[in-house]
C-alpha cells in the first residue's frame, strides 16, 4: 500500500516545502522523533516504520470501517460471558465457590478498596467495553466534529488501557496457586476470555484511527484557534 521512502530531515529544518500540501499522507512527521518522511504508495500491504527511530507510522492492512465494526461487535458479544461466567470453580471447606471477574471487582469494592477495584474494573472490563462501543459508534456518520474527536480520543485511551492479556496470565497464576490447595474445576468463561484476548490483539493490529481522522476533513471546517486540549 504505502512504503516509507526515506527522510527529508527533521521537521524544523524543512520549511521550504510548498505551501500546498502534497497528496494525502505522502509526507508525514514521525510522532516519536519528528523526522519528516516521504511515503510512496506501492502495491504492498506492509506496515510503515520510521527509518530513524523505527516507530510504527501507518498500518498496511487495508481494513475498512466495516471490518472494525465486525470485530467490535464480536468483542462486545465475547466480553459479557467472560466477565460474568465462571472462570473456575473451587471446592473449599465443604462448599463450591464460583470465581468470576465481576465478583472479584465487587468484593474489592465492598472491602473499601475502591481504587484497586476501579483499576481492575477499568483495565479488565471498562476499557475493552469502551473500545468496542467506541468503534461501533464510529461506524455511523451522525457525529458532529467535536463529538467525533472525543470518540477518537476515547477509543485511543481505551486501546491503551485494556489489559485482557495480562488478566489471562493473572488467571493462570491464580489457578496454579490454588490447584494444590483445593479441588479446582475450570469454568466456561475461559473460552470467550481466550477468544477475547486474541480479538483485542487483532484490533490492535488492524484498527487504523487515520481513516476516521480523515472523515473529519469532510466535515465543516473547524474554527481556527478554538482548540480544546
Amino acid at each position: 500500500m504505502q512504503v516509507v521512502l526515506g527522510k527529508v530531515g527533521t521537521a524544523q529544518y524543512s520549511c521550504a516545502m510548498n505551501e500546498t500540501p502534497a497528496t494525502e499522507r505522502s509526507v508525514m512527521t514521525c510522532p516519536s522523533c519528528d523526522l519528516v518522511v516521504i511515503i510512496e504508495t506501492l502495491n504492498t500491504r506492509a506496515d510503515g516504520y520510521c527509518p530513524r527511530c523505527a516507530e510504527h507510522l501507518f498500518s498496511g492492512s487495508q481494513t475498512s470501517r466495516r471490518h472494525h465494526l465486525a470485530l467490535a461487535i464480536t468483542g462486545l458479544l465475547l466480553l459479557w460471558p467472560s466477565v460474568v461466567e465462571n472462570l473456575f470453580q473451587l471446592y473449599l471447606a465443604g462448599k463450591m465457590i464460583d470465581v468470576t471477574m465481576l465478583k472479584g471487582i465487587l468484593l474489592l469494592w465492598r472491602q473499601d478498596y475502591w481504587f484497586v477495584s476501579g483499576l481492575v474494573a477499568w483495565c479488565g472490563l471498562l476499557a475493552p467495553l469502551g473500545l468496542f462501543t467506541g468503534i461501533i459508534l464510529l461506524s455511523v456518520d451522525i457525529w458532529p466534529r467535536r463529538m467525533l474527536v472525543s470518540l477518537l480520543v476515547l477509543v485511543n485511551h481505551c486501546r491503551e488501557w485494556s489489559m485482557v492479556e495480562v488478566f489471562v496470565i493473572s488467571l493462570m497464576v491464580a489457578i496454579f496457586k490454588l490447584i494444590d490447595v483445593a479441588d479446582l474445576t475450570l469454568g466456561p468463561a475461559l473460552v470467550p476470555l481466550a477468544a477475547l484476548m486474541m480479538l483485542i490483539t487483532l484490533i490492535h493490529r488492524l484498527y487504523d484511527p487515520e481513516i476516521y481522522w480523515r472523515r473529519l476533513d469532510l466535515l465543516p471546517v473547524h474554527v481556527e484557534g478554538r482548540g480544546d486540549e
Binding site: Q12, S117, V173, W213, L216
Partner: protein, 206 residues
C-alpha cells in the same frame, strides 16, 4: 527556541495531520492546540516518577494480602508472598510475580529517570538505544498490574466468611498507585526531545 523556528512542519500530536506550526495555532483538523514539543514534558515525567517512587515504599513494605483462617490473620507483603511461592515449589509462578510486581516497576522508574537525567544533563546520547529502552519500558509497563488481578481472583476464590478468607492489605492501593503513576510517567515523556540534536532542553519547552 533557537532551532525550532516557525513556520515548521509539525504532525499534530492528536490526529497526526501534517500542519505548518505557528505560535498559538490549533490543528485545522481536530482542533488540538499545537506545540512543537509537549509543554513541560520533562517536569511532568519527573513529577510522576517521584510520586511513584514515594509509593514504592508502602507498596513493598506494607502487607498486600491478608489470609484469615478461623480468626487468625496471616499477612503477606509482595516479597514474602513471592518467597512463600518459592518455598511451595512454584518457582515459575514466583518468578512471574516477582518480575511483574517488583522488577518491572523498579526498572521503569530507574530507566525513565535515566532518560530524563540524560536529557537534563545533555552531552552525547545514544538516541536509538534510549528510544529502545523507552519502547521496552512502554511495553512492559502494563504487566505490573498482574498482581492486582491475582488479588481480585484470590479474593473471589477464597471467600468462606470467618472460616477462610482473603482480603487485600493497604499495600494494594499503594501498588495500584505505582502502576498508574509509572504508566503516566512513560506517557508524559515526549520522545522527540531525545532526537533534538543539541541537548539544550530548557529552550525546547515552550
Amino acid at each position: 527556541m533557537s532551532k525550532l523556528q516557525p513556520p515548521a512542519l509539525l504532525g499534530c500530536h492528536r490526529c497526526h495531520k501534517l500542519v505548518r506550526w505557528r505560535e498559538q495555532s490549533a490543528c485545522p483538523r481536530c482542533g488540538a492546540h499545537l506545540h512543537l514539543r509537549t509543554p513541560r514534558s520533562l517536569s511532568w515525567t519527573w513529577a510522576w516518577l517521584i510520586s511513584a517512587s514515594a509509593l514504592m515504599l508502602p507498596a513493598n513494605l506494607l502487607p498486600i494480602t491478608r489470609l484469615q483462617t478461623f480468626g487468625m490473620v496471616d499477612e503477606d507483603t509482595i516479597f514474602s508472598g513471592v518467597m512463600s511461592l518459592y518455598r511451595n515449589d512454584m518457582p515459575g509462578i514466583a518468578t512471574i510475580v516477582l518480575v511483574a510486581s517488583v522488577i518491572v516497576p523498579l526498572f521503569k522508574i530507574l530507566g525513565l529517570s535515566w532518560i530524563c537525567l540524560r536529557l537534563k544533563v545533555g552531552g552525547s546520547l545514544n538516541q536509538a538505544g534510549a528510544m529502545r529502552l523507552y519502547r521496552f519500558i512502554e511495553f512492559i509497563g502494563r504487566w505490573s498490574i498482574l498482581d492486582l488481578f491475582v488479588i481480585a481472583l484470590m479474593m473471589s476464590a477464597i471467600d468462606r466468611g470467618l472460616l477462610l478468607n482473603v482480603t487485600p492489605g493497604p499495600a494494594a492501593t499503594a501498588f495500584g498507585g505505582v502502576v498508574v503513576l509509572t504508566l503516566f510517567a512513560a506517557k508524559s515523556l515526549d520522545t522527540r526531545l531525545l532526537w533534538d540534536q543539541d541537548n539544550d532542553n530548557e529552550s525546547k519547552e515552550p
